[in-house]
């Protein structure tokens, strides 16, 4: 029987506020799976036309797949969220691109006709699961020089970017960080965060609190203030806490559907998935990953970078975004790039970030009446991810 490929649309995306990892953070006493349950339920509440039993799969990402993130998350969270038992689920991991990979895995199921509707997202409780803490690093990586030792420490890979591209200075990185904070502060005053962030009550040692705002926001950040911060990854280095994303707790969930199912169910799609690409690069320069991924996805679609109206890039390190700007030919100040600030201001809960980017992209394309948008992230162990979207709003 001839197979008919389905168009995939993004219907909606929500996230929790992002908290600082660690005992002083908002989510320290909240379980990761409970955070994921919250965003999945919010997604269903916001889309009441979707009968939960119509969900074909629940795909959730986490980098640390242990403990409260360990019970094949998609299935676990679906059950805890009250989705019917007939709906399956699974967990994926591609580190920082976890949620993007959940989206593309779900999109694959939809395109193949295996599912009509997919919930995809991610969660990372970096307070409970510090990056790499539960990893047993194979000694062959170092003894046989499979990768450079610095590839295991994300901050060190960012220092490597400064080495490789010396014209991308610390000053440029700091300036980018200040802009990220300013844009995020403005975004919290307009509607994008109200539309994409769901407040959640969380228990703490000082009683229940409302987690309704990102904890990393520092709207008063100045260049002078960033100049003298410590460089934890190298003596006299360039990467500081001010020009990188902090360790973060957060969860996201997005809703994908086939174009046909969305129409049948009366869902209002925001974006159409045009194409996606993953690419591998030198692990010790993992930050350049989004460059080949971006080029590849544009090539697939027959577009150039100038055809894209909006970019939502992750910002694990300011220098990482600068290398992408350099590599694809976009100015770091370009208003099309991260108009609502980025991870430097809001935090980066590894496997959760992807859906935040897509949800904000959807809002931004609608606000600007743009056509194409790109979401991209770099990925630990030397990879990049890029998804190209078309605005349907």
């Amino acid at each position: 029987m001839p197979r008919e490929l389905q168009e995939v649309v993004f219907v909606d995306g929500v996230r929790t506020a992002f908290g600082k990892a660690g005992p002083k953070g908002l989510f320290w006493r909240t379980r990761a799976d409970d955070m994921a349950v919250k965003v999945v339920r919010e997604l269903l509440r916001r889309n009441p036309d979707l009968p939960p039993e119509r969900i074909g799969d629940v795909v959730l990402a986490a980098t640390a797949q242990v403990g409260d993130q360990g019970l094949t998350l998609g299935r676990e969270v679906a059950l805890l969220a009250g989705i019917p038992q007939t709906v399956p689920g699974f967990a994926v991991d591609r580190m920082c691109a976890g949620a993007l990979t959940a989206l593309t895995a779900g999109a694959g199921e939809i395109a193949m006709g295996a599912a009509d509707v997919v919930v995809a997202g991610g969660v990372e409780h970096m307070g409970r699961h510090p990056m790499g803490a539960e990893v047993d690093f194979n000694p062959r990586f170092v003894s046989e020089r499979v990768i450079d030792e610095s590839a295991a420490t994300m901050g060190a890979t960012a220092e490597n970017l400064h080495d490789r591209f010396p014209h991308l200075t610390k000053d440029a990185a700091d300036a980018f960080a200040v802009r990220s904070q300013q844009r995020a502060a403005a975004a919290w005053r307009n509607g994008v965060m109200r539309e994409t962030v769901v407040p959640m009550t969380v228990f703490s040692d000082e009683g229940w609190r409302l987690a309704d705002r990102d904890e990393f926001l520092r709207p008063d950040t100045t260049l002078d203030g960033l100049a003298d911060l410590k460089t934890p990854f190298r003596v006299a280095g360039r990467v500081t806490a001010g020009n990188s994303a902090g360790l973060t707790d957060g969860a996201t969930a997005g809703l994908l559907a086939s174009e046909r199912a969305a129409a049948d169910l009366g869902l209002e799609p925001k974006l159409r998935l045009v194409g996606y690409a993953y690419a591998g690069v030198e692990p010790e320069l993992m930050g350049i990953g989004p460059i080949p991924a971006t080029q590849r996805v544009l090539e697939q679609a027959g577009l150039t970078i100038d055809d894209v109206d909006l970019f939502e890039l992750n910002e694990p390190f300011a220098v990482q975004v600068l290398t992408w700007c350099d590599g694809v030919g976009v100015e770091p100040e370009d208003p099309r790039l991260n108009p609502y600030g980025g991870a430097i201001a809001c935090g980066h809960p590894l496997a959760a970030t992807g859906v935040r980017l897509v949800a904000q992209l959807a809002y931004g394309l609608r606000e600007r009446n743009g056509r194409y948008g790109l979401t991209a992230l770099c990925i630990g162990m030397g990879m990049g991810a890029a998804i190209l979207w078309e605005n349907l709003q």
Binding site: V37, K38, L80, G82, T201, E206, G207, W208, R209
Partner: protein, 319 residues
């Protein structure tokens, strides 16, 4: 010995303004329920000062995960309690809880977990109540312990759910081996304005309060207490058949509920204080509380067992 209970106040920004989230917490997990002792009241007074002096749009009162509050801390009851001390203990609760009732903005008690005795009574002093369908322990066990609810229970329960349900809840259930209600039962009997699933219980409770504030807080219809005398008359007969005058506490509780139909809340508070001054020093209450402590605390702790972890034996086990 649990850590002292605290009343934490946290501001939450909502559509209607700043709402106070107040948490009753003893810093322990659910195996050590939160109770109200002297330190708890001192903390409540501090919380009330904030709640009374600052600008709030509303207040939501709840407990730590799985537990709302389990009432008075009976480990603080002295071995020989005088009538004056009993009266003081009752009055301390009345005074503090009355200040909650007097707060000039809408208040909501979110019964998220076990609520017993004082845990029920403090919630009665709020304007609204939500209860989790996950609650398994909701009761006023005082009559079971030879005393009566002494922090407003006998006065506010009939005003909230009517005399018939109040008698069942305060007297009949307590005398039936301390039968407790589930959250669903409590909601169906009218104790709560909303029954919410545990999964997002507090988020939805906060939303319930915010919507109530947005809607302009319509007052609850006063309950009809005209049949109280008849209800109490029947209850007295049944109780007499069951006890043959052997226990004074449940009879006293019926007196108090009967009084609720004709006196003010203030007068009712004083009557509760009188009842506790009479009952708590008495032999039945003392014996009951001793027995309850023995069964609920000492026996579970394993009296006489040293507090050390068993050591692993060295190598292989001996056959």
């Amino acid at each position: 010995m649990s850590a002292p209970t605290q009343f934490h106040v946290q501001p939450a920004e909502t559509r209607v303004g700043r709402v106070a989230l107040v948490t009753i917490d003893n810093g322990e997990d659910w195996t050590k329920p939160t109770t109200f002792g002297r330190a708890a009241f001192e903390s409540l007074w501090r919380a009330l000062e904030r709640l009374e002096s600052e600008e709030w749009a509303g207040m939501l009162l709840t407990g730590k995960p799985f537990v709302f509050a389990a009432g008075a801390d009976i480990t603080e009851f002295p071995k020989a309690v005088s009538p004056e001390l009993a009266r003081e203990g009752s009055k301390a609760g009345h005074d503090a809880f009355a200040r909650i009732a007097a707060l000039p903005y809408p208040t909501l008690a979110a019964w998220n977990g076990a609520a017993l005795g004082g845990g029920v009574e403090i919630g009665l002093h709020c304007d609204l109540r939500t209860i989790s369908s996950g609650v398994r322990h909701f009761a006023c066990p005082e009559c079971f312990l030879g005393i009566v609810p002494g922090w407003g229970g006998t006065q506010l329960i009939p005003r909230l759910v009517g005399a018939k349900t109040a008698v069942k809840f305060v007297v009949v259930n307590a005398m039936r081996q301390n039968k407790m209600l589930t959250g669903t039962d409590a909601y169906e009997l009218g104790f709560a304005d909303a029954l919410l699933a545990p999964v997002e219980f507090l988020d939805e409770s906060l939303e319930f309060l915010v919507r109530h504030i947005e809607a302009g807080a319509p007052a609850r219809e006063p309950i009809d207490l005209s049949e109280t005398n008849e209800v109490i008359r029947k209850a007295r007969l049944q109780l007499e058949e069951q006890l043959h005058g052997a226990a004074p506490a449940p009879v006293r509780a019926l007196d108090l509920i009967e009084g609720a139909a004709r006196c003010t809340v203030e007068e009712g508070y004083r009557a509760e204080e009188d009842a506790l001054a009479d009952l708590l020093p008495g032999p039945q209450a003392q014996a009951s509380i001793y027995a309850f402590d023995l069964v609920e605390r000492r026996a579970k702790k394993g009296v006489g067992i040293p507090q050390v972890e068993p050591r692993r034996s060295g190598s292989s086990a001996a056959a």
